[in-house]
């Protein structure tokens, strides 16, 4: 669906974790027209001078009920304003925006990796993958047990593996450390979270074929034909796709405010992204 301005009615708002909220909106156009990885740009109330919209990943979208959900953390006045919205309030959303995750039709095993709020970026992909009959493992990392995304909010069919920085739940350490355990199983991986986490995953993904001994098998996928970097076809073949974040102005590609550095120069997160194949990003530019 092409982007449009949508009036979305808040139908439910709940705090799922300390400072983290899931809000449900009735917005049939978005619920049926969006794909996993896309986002909406939400206008906050004219609240003493908030001049910019706030981008949020579409956390879930259910065409049957016309409901989309957003999952966010209160980080400033815009998100605080959102938490005070009441059922029945209408929010102005621009969307769906950006390019979605591209799953290779042949991929059976999807590895989804999320750091903290990054779960909102890959959550909908889990639904789509389950619907399409694929197997899904979600690796989730948080600082501590109190910030672990509740498993009750995930589809039944996924395997959910948790890591915490302080070891209070699941694997004691970073979620990236779990990736290697699954790299042979996974046909493709999709990640969203802090940029250093994505950078680490990209480095791991780059060495994967060699570790698995497939680098020498020669041409397989694509049979030597090279799809241009950034094309849908090239992304579909990529092992790792990442959902990037950047501060935004317009979110439609007009202001060039949201760039990250790609190997081919600046890339607009709102237009070329937010999902990129890991190979597209100039990771050395990211701290």
């Amino acid at each position: 669906m092409t982007m449009r301005l949508v009036s979305a009615e808040l139908v439910d708002s709940r705090q799922i974790l300390p400072g983290q909220w899931v809000q449900s909106f009735h917005a049939p156009e978005l619920a049926s027209g969006s794909r996993a990885g896309q986002f909406v740009h939400v206008r906050t109330g004219d609240y003493s001078g908030l001049v910019l919209r706030r981008p949020f990943s579409i956390n879930t979208a259910d065409p049957a009920t016309g409901i989309v959900t957003l999952h966010f953390r209160t980080v400033g006045r815009g998100t605080e304003w959102l938490t005070r919205a009441r059922e029945g309030d209408r929010l102005d959303m621009l969307g769906p925006l950006g390019r979605p995750f591209e799953v290779d039709p042949r991929s059976r095993h999807l590895l989804l990796v999320a750091g903290g709020l990054g779960i909102a970026g890959i959550r909908m992909l889990a639904d789509e993958a389950v619907r399409d009959g694929r197997q899904v493992v979600i690796l989730f990392g948080a600082q501590s047990a109190s910030l672990v995304y509740p498993s009750s909010l995930l589809p039944d069919e996924v395997e959910y593996v948790v890591a915490t920085d302080d070891g209070s739940l699941g694997h004691d350490g970073f979620v990236t450390e779990l990736m290697v355990d699954y790299e042979a199983w996974a046909d493709q991986a999709f990640a969203c979270g802090p940029h250093p986490m994505l950078k680490r995953l990209a480095a791991l993904a780059a060495g994967r074929r060699e570790r698995l001994g497939v680098a020498t098998l020669g041409r397989k996928r694509g049979g030597g034909k090279h799809d241009p970097l950034g094309s849908t076809a090239a992304r579909r073949k990529a092992f790792l796709q990442v959902s990037m974040e950047q501060t935004m102005g317009c979110a439609v590609g007009a202001c060039l405010g949201c760039t990250v550095i790609g190997v081919d120069g600046p890339q607009r997160v709102c237009r070329e992204g937010p999902v990129f194949a890991a190979e597209e990003i100039a990771w050395e530019s990211i701290a």
Partner: protein, 398 residues
């Protein structure tokens, strides 16, 4: 360590209300306030060379209703919002609400949500001779009542702009003004030459808030002689309508505005962004990749008003106001200070439909006041005697 989970979410999040959501149409009411028809136009303040719609002040009467009746619609249609920005060369806009450079891309990006043909004119992203990759991210951040940006003039270069967008613009009713930036006078001149005669290019807006490499990086915009020189050089290079955009980051903008007028600009646009800075959340560095950024949005409106007010008293070419426009009141404020058109920038990000809506609201406002054009609204706040305020302005410079 593996937590196998269960429970399906959709049933969970879906509220029982969802099923019975009905869509209530939003009705926008415009108050039918009776405002006396203003016939006391202070003709002395409307600069003579400025052409706005028809000159006559007609009593068009009736207040605007939610859904205008046929008679009201006809009365609205009779109001002439057109304005000439370059009286000597011809740059006629169907209405005075433009979109500001850098906030509306090349006019195509918002195409799906905005009817761009109903905008007065589009100023495209700053265009340079050669492609530019722009500044390090992050490039934008919100600030109280505004935002900072440091895009760094990322653009594909003038040739690519002409090739890619020229044919698109040519098919448009809305005039497209190419915003031009450079690091030397030769750069500006060369870009202007290449734009000259390109179908679809209605005019040039010089962004002179750029470092002049030839003069040790001093901005053209803060140096009267450089501003004069670059304007004159571009003037010689092209017959396209030429607008020159002022920077607010100067002690006194008036001599610069005058120099630009003398050098042959058709109109002045004001203002560009104010230089600013934001700090990273952990306070270990500046937030923006480029350290400094340009402040825009409602926060800068008073500065823009002051500059338009000052410039209006020293030049007689048309002035296009830019800075923090978010509603019709802002537009009318700028008109009152002597602008004959405005550009909307940052506010588009929150409200993409604003520029088109402002045109309609201005039309309704003229009808409400019984005006056939908005000409009588221009310059009403300027001091009656020319020159009287110059001293006042200087006095209040902190």
């Amino acid at each position: 360590m593996k937590t196998k989970k269960r429970v399906v979410i959709s049933a969970d999040v879906r509220s029982p209300k969802a099923a019975r959501v009905k869509r209530t149409p939003t009705v926008r009411t415009i108050k039918s306030a009776i405002v006396p028809v203003d016939r006391t136009t202070r003709s002395g303040n409307v600069r003579p060379r400025v052409e706005i719609g028809g000159a006559a002040v007609a009593d068009l009467g009736a207040p605007v209703a939610v859904r205008p009746s046929l008679a009201e619609r006809e009365a609205l249609d009779r109001i002439d919002l057109s304005v000439e920005l370059a009286p000597q060369r011809g740059l006629r806009l169907l209405n005075p609400i433009m979109v500001a450079s850098g906030t509306f891309g090349y006019g195509v990006e918002y195409g799906e949500v905005v009817d761009v043909q109903r905008i007065g004119a589009i100023c495209c992203k700053g265009t340079t001779l050669r492609p530019r990759a722009g500044n390090q991210p992050p490039r934008v951040t919100e600030t109280p009542g505004g935002m900072l940006n440091s895009i760094g003039l990322q653009n594909p270069g003038v040739d690519a702009v002409i090739e890619k967008y020229g044919p698109v613009w040519q098919g448009w009713k809305v005039p497209v003004i190419v915003n031009v930036a450079g690091e030397s006078i030769d750069d500006y001149v060369e870009v202007a030459r290449r734009l000259d005669g390109v179908p679809g290019v209605a005019g040039i807006e010089l962004n002179i808030s750029c470092p002049n490499v030839g003069k040790g990086g001093l901005q053209f915009a803060i140096d009267r002689d450089a501003a004069r020189a670059v304007t004159a050089a571009v003037r010689r290079a092209t017959d396209l309508p030429l607008l020159v955009k002022l920077s607010p980051n100067v002690a006194d903008v008036r001599p610069i505005a005058k120099a630009i007028e003398e050098a042959g600009a058709d109109a002045i646009t004001a203002i560009n962004t104010l230089s600013g800075l934001a700090v990273s959340p952990d306070r270990t560095r500046a937030f923006l990749g480029n350290t400094y950024g340009g402040l825009s949005g409602p926060a800068i409106k008073p500065v823009a008003l002051r500059i338009v007010y000052e410039v209006a008293q020293v030049v007689s070419i048309p002035i296009v106001a830019i800075g923090g426009v978010t509603n019709l009141g802002d537009v009318l404020d700028f008109f009152a200070c002597g602008a004959i058109a405005v550009q909307v920038g940052t506010a588009i990000f929150a409200d993409p439909e604003l520029p088109v809506r402002l045109g309609e609201e201005l039309r309704a406002e003229c009808l409400r006041r019984g005006l056939a054009s908005y000409g009588p609204l221009v310059g009403t706040a300027l001091p009656k005697r020319a020159g009287a305020s110059s001293a006042k302005g200087a006095e209040y410079r902190p």
